[in-house]
């Protein structure tokens, strides 16, 4: 029985479409993660603060507005400012190939484009934490002393 992995799914910036974010949130829930969804129009500060309060292991950022080059690095910056150095930050949405290296250099560990299967994302998170997807379901049962 491992620790339950907690994931924050957030939408930085001003675009008003969160269908993709909701699909991912549901898929991650179904895989056995505890997913916190904070809704639309979040500033980097709001996202980092929610990640801190919820003590999440992963922050997943969904962005369609084209402002990813400014907003995503700022989220990482805000996370670091709060000492959340070990949080895995990933992103998805409409992000051109050529922007990905710069985002990775800024601390976004992986970028998932449209059409990525949810299994791929689950697999990526599991590999990062060195666990198998099938172990997610049993995790988090409160331990007795």
């Amino acid at each position: 029985m491992g620790r339950k992995i907690r994931v924050l799914i957030a939408k930085p910036g001003l675009d008003g479409h969160d269908r993709g974010a909701k699909v991912i949130a549901r898929a991650l829930r179904d895989a056995g993660f505890e997913v916190i969804y904070t809704g639309l129009r979040q500033t980097p500060e709001m996202i980092a603060e929610a990640a801190l309060q919820e003590d999440v292991d992963v922050v997943g950022l969904s962005i369609l507005s084209g402002a990813h080059m400014t907003l995503l690095p700022r989220v990482v910056e805000e996370l670091r400012k709060r000492g959340l150095d070990d949080v895995l930050v990933i992103a998805g949405g409409i992000i051109p190939e050529e922007d990905i290296p710069a985002l990775k250099a800024a601390g976004i560990r992986e970028v998932f484009g449209p059409g990525t299967s949810t299994e791929t994302i689950v697999q990526f998170i599991c590999e990062h934490f060195g666990i198998r997807p099938e172990d997610l379901k049993a995790a988090g049962e409160p331990a007795l002393p």
């Binding site: 620790r3 339950k4 949130a25 549901r26 991650l28 829930r29 179904d30 895989a31 056995g32 993660f33 505890e34 997913v35 916190i36 969804y37 904070t38 809704g39 500033t43 500060e45 709001m46 603060e49 929610a50 801190l52 309060q53 919820e54 003590d55 709060r82 000492g83 959340l84 070990d86 997610l136 379901k137 049993a138 995790a139 988090g140 049962e141 409160p142 331990a143 007795l144 002393p145």
Partner: protein, 345 residues
């Protein structure tokens, strides 16, 4: 970040929010660290006022929590929020979405919001919710707002955790059936009809009034004939749950709600009911924890294989449940006696 419970607690008391967040995770995970932490923070608890908010999905609990938080912040009080959502019994996963409607407090250092999944527990709260409430209390939050799962009928656990329980209803949620279902209304200290600007609010209000019937038998028409229905629930001694109307999105009715909570708080203190409740609650929690630990000891002492054997015998109807329990108790008896009551030689 350290995972040492005592260091985390010291830092959280000094205002380190990251330490507080980590500490809450440790409590949620359970085990030895949680026991150590719980013991460390217990002497510092008992200062916060805990308000429970329950009601069916869609009644606006999160929005009401948001509005109450704003009201308390305006009065200069700090607010800790615990929002509970269900875990899937099939995957163990959970989607926690209460923060969506609690955005007003973003960036306010006087507010701390924590979402929790039920992780298999029924009754509207997670197993560790009371530990989380105590932790927020111990680090100094003055008001603690606890939002339950929202199944609407079974979350009576909140009555065990909160000083004042608010039951929220809204028009158009099939209220006439919901209201009649026992359990949820009986735990209400205050009833709120939220979304009171919507059509059907008057009907919802009327149904709740007749359910509580405020000292008078309600008169309803049945097959065209007027008939009196008897009060289902006698009003609690000295306190009749008020029914308020709010529009949480606009803040309408919130000052009245805050006021009603204060009146209830004063009633609890003056009548001695507050003291009696606190006593009942802690006794109940002591019993629950003891049951849990005893069971853990049984499992440890007799072993899984022996337990499985007993279950097989039960399934084959070779023994009955009470006999099985007797056997288990007999088997752990020597260990309890030896350990706690050494016999004289």
């Amino acid at each position: 970040m350290t995972r040492d419970p005592i260091t985390l607690f010291e830092r959280a008391r000094a205002g380190d929010r990251r330490a507080l967040a980590r500490l809450l995770s440790l409590l949620e995970e359970g085990g030895e660290a949680a026991v150590q932490l719980s013991a460390r923070l217990f002497p510092h608890t008992g200062n916060a006022y805990v308000i429970g908010i329950t009601g069916p999905p869609g009644s606006g609990k999160s929005t009401l929590v948001n509005a109450l938080t704003r009201a308390y912040r305006e009065r200069g009080e700090t607010v800790g929020i615990v929002a509970v959502d269900p875990s899937s019994p099939f995957t163990g996963g959970a989607l926690l979405g209460d923060r969506i409607r609690m955005q007003d407090a973003a960036g306010d250092p006087g507010v701390f919001i924590r979402s929790m999944a039920t992780r298999g527990s029924l009754g509207g709260l997670a197993r560790a919710t009371r530990e989380i409430i105590r932790a927020l209390d111990a680090v100094g939050f003055q008001r603690i707002l606890v939002e339950t799962v929202g199944a609407g009928q079974v979350e009576v656990d909140i009555a065990q955790a909160a000083d004042t329980v608010i039951v929220v209803q809204a028009p158009g949620l099939g209220d006439d059936i919901q209201a009649i279902k026992a359990g949820i209304l009986e735990i209400a200290d205050i009833l709120v009809v939220n979304k009171a600007d919507r059509e059907g609010a008057a009907a919802t209000l009327h149904i709740l009034r007749s359910m509580l019937s405020l000292g008078q038998p309600a008169v309803v028409r049945h097959h065209g004939q007027a008939m009196a229905i008897q009060r289902v629930e006698p009003s609690r001694e000295g306190w009749t749950p008020p029914i308020l109307q709010t529009v949480a999105t606009s803040g309408k009715g919130i000052p009245e709600l805050v006021e009603a909570i204060e009146r209830h708080r004063a009633y609890l203190e003056e009548s001695g009911e507050g003291e009696a409740r606190r006593r009942r609650r802690i006794a109940e929690e002591l019993a629950a924890l003891t049951r849990e630990r005893l069971w853990a000891r049984v499992v440890h002492q007799v072993g899984r294989a022996r337990l499985d054997g007993l279950v097989d015998q039960l399934l084959r109807r070779e023994i009955d449940l009470h006999t099985a329990v007797e056997r288990l108790l007999e088997e752990i008896q020597p260990c309890i006696e030896e350990r706690d009551f050494p016999r004289e030689a």
